[in-house]
Symmetry: C2
Subunit: 342 residues, 2 copies
């Protein structure tokens, strides 16, 4: 199937010029017009459908669905998306799903009704029907999907790193807090930490948690020190949970990091402002939003050029690029200083 | 000028029934139809324009412009707006202005291009042309405007409250941090605090600040204790700045609250998680967003019923309701305990 790009290339002109000729939408020099018409004929290009797609008035709106903007991890993701979309003249319809299936469906419906040209979603279920049925590009953000474009951080490596760093700094009785079962990145980092501890033959306990809420985390922090009072190192499921562990350690009169070391996950803005400032595994939230926006823009551009000639975008010639961003250990003051790297 | 509501009331039927008669869009019993037609004639009601306005396909989109969603004060505002809009089937196009005039103008332009039916803006300049020219309702959020609907907290009272509480708890050498000059709520709370201190004949110093950035606040916190080393009470311009003051006090070995008491402003989620947890003046951010959304919905409904009959909405019969929400002192552990209320 010939594309407008091939016609442009064959004729030695820009895609915009080919479009002007096909759609008679602007002045083109007579010689140029003849070259384009020859190329169209030679390549057996069927301009009408593509022309329609190119010139149909497209919205510049995309839909962004996040679990909850008041969770301090998400504003940076949202800002990364917004900055790149704004630079590219796209605008964002924004919604919070609260990880509620019905709200998610409602938002997806109204995104479509509002004629968005693409969607970025931090859903817990990238395989849901509402995404499979979409006729516009979707990028999953902070979520992995085997079949669809997604942008996420390397959680498994993050978990391993947390375990390595806390062990290298001398913790011998480690408790790992396992994040919510339905959130895959939480499980990735948990698995990474546990694998590393097993390989290093370090004793560890697990405290299961079901949310990232600070209120609930206070209870798990109490459970942690009740059930495992000898704990001298905590790998928390995220920074909010680490904060609750810090509060409980303060309450019990434990010194941080002398009596207990604590490592969080995310590096939300709060973490550097705690006392002591929290050592954590940094997910590059802003960059993740920025990359997701870039990927979506690319997919939108591809789909707008070739949609008409490819009946089903999702089973088509497109690969499904995913972007995995690196994480890193941010050393602050809830872990002890060691010189083991040198 | 007769409204559709008056026609409905006169005919003893619902507005929807009047619309069905006028627009011939559904079944209406013949007797009812005659009653409506009689009312239209009697009241000299001009149905066509209103009918057009009522039945023209309206978007359910509103524009929301905030300075920066990564400032921890704004996610709660945004969430309040979103929750109420979502309940009412409106969707939000969201943008960050960075308090940059050009970005603000760009967003307002694209809001209009995307056919929003109303705007909520936390602008520093409610009198800007781009708002005066709007033909759709606008509500200013966290900003006061004399001429336009706005929703804000009682900053002046908040400032007085901060001064009262810190004085009642024994501070005698108070330093007040004055927030950015271009942000009116920051000036309101500063003025309130200073008025209260003057009335109480308490000595105070002022440290001027130009932003709410933590990085810059660290420098002002140093300046504060350098220039005014005897300070035993700090009224900070907001919680982020208070956090920087706490860090500097820790660094200098000052005990909080024994050596220095600190009161913030806002009550962002961070504040209860600090060590010690921060005493502050709470602005009800979520409720402010919620109320702004409710006010905008009300204005949208008014404008859609009567727009066609009122040439200029802004100079019309509508009052400009504004909502001022109360603030309150949240006592935590950066202030001393006193029993002065009892």
């Amino acid at each position: 199937m010939t594309t407008i790009k091939q016609v442009a290339s064959f004729a030695g002109v820009s895609v915009a010029t080919v479009s002007r000729v096909i759609n008679e939408t602007g002045y083109v020099h007579e010689d140029t017009r003849r070259k384009v018409e020859a190329a169209v004929k030679q390549l057996n290009y069927k301009p009408n459908e593509v022309a329609r797609s190119l010139y149909k008035k497209k919205s510049r709106l995309i839909g962004l669905l996040l679990p909850d903007i008041t969770n301090p991890y998400f504003p940076l993701l949202a800002r990364g998306v917004e900055d790149r979309m704004q630079e590219n003249d796209f605008r964002i319809i924004f919604g919070n799903s609260d990880e509620d299936r019905q709200k998610e469906l409602d938002y997806m419906d109204t995104f479509i009704q509002n004629n968005v040209v693409g969607v970025i979603s931090s859903t817990n279920d990238p395989n849901a029907d509402c995404y499979a049925k979409l006729k516009i590009p979707v990028v999953f953000l902070d979520r992995t999907s085997n079949d669809s474009p997604s942008v996420y951080a390397d959680g498994a490596h993050g978990g391993r790193l947390a375990a390595q760093e806390i062990v290298a700094r001398g913790s011998k009785q480690i408790t790992v807090m396992q994040g919510p079962a339905h959130i895959r990145p939480a499980q990735d980092r948990f698995r990474g930490a546990v694998e590393e501890l097993q390989q290093s033959s370090i004793a560890y306990h697990v405290v299961k948690t079901t949310s990232f809420s600070f209120k609930e985390a206070e209870l798990w922090a109490k459970e942690l020190f009740n059930k495992h009072p000898d704990t001298d190192g905590v790998i928390a499921s995220n920074d909010i949970v680490a904060t609750a562990v810090m509060h409980e350690a303060h309450r019990l009169g434990k010194k941080i990091p002398d009596d207990v070391q604590i490592i969080g996950f995310d590096d939300i803005p709060l973490s550097s402002l705690l006392f002591p400032p929290l050592s954590t595994i940094r997910q590059p939230a802003y960059e993740m939003g920025w990359e997701a926006a870039g990927l979506l823009i690319q997919l939108i551009e591809q789909s707008q050029v070739t949609k008409s000639s490819v009946p089903n975008l999702h089973s088509s010639i497109f690969t499904h690029p995913s972007i995995q961003l690196p994480v890193k250990f941010i050393e602050r003051e809830t872990t002890r200083k060691v010189d083991y790297h040198g």
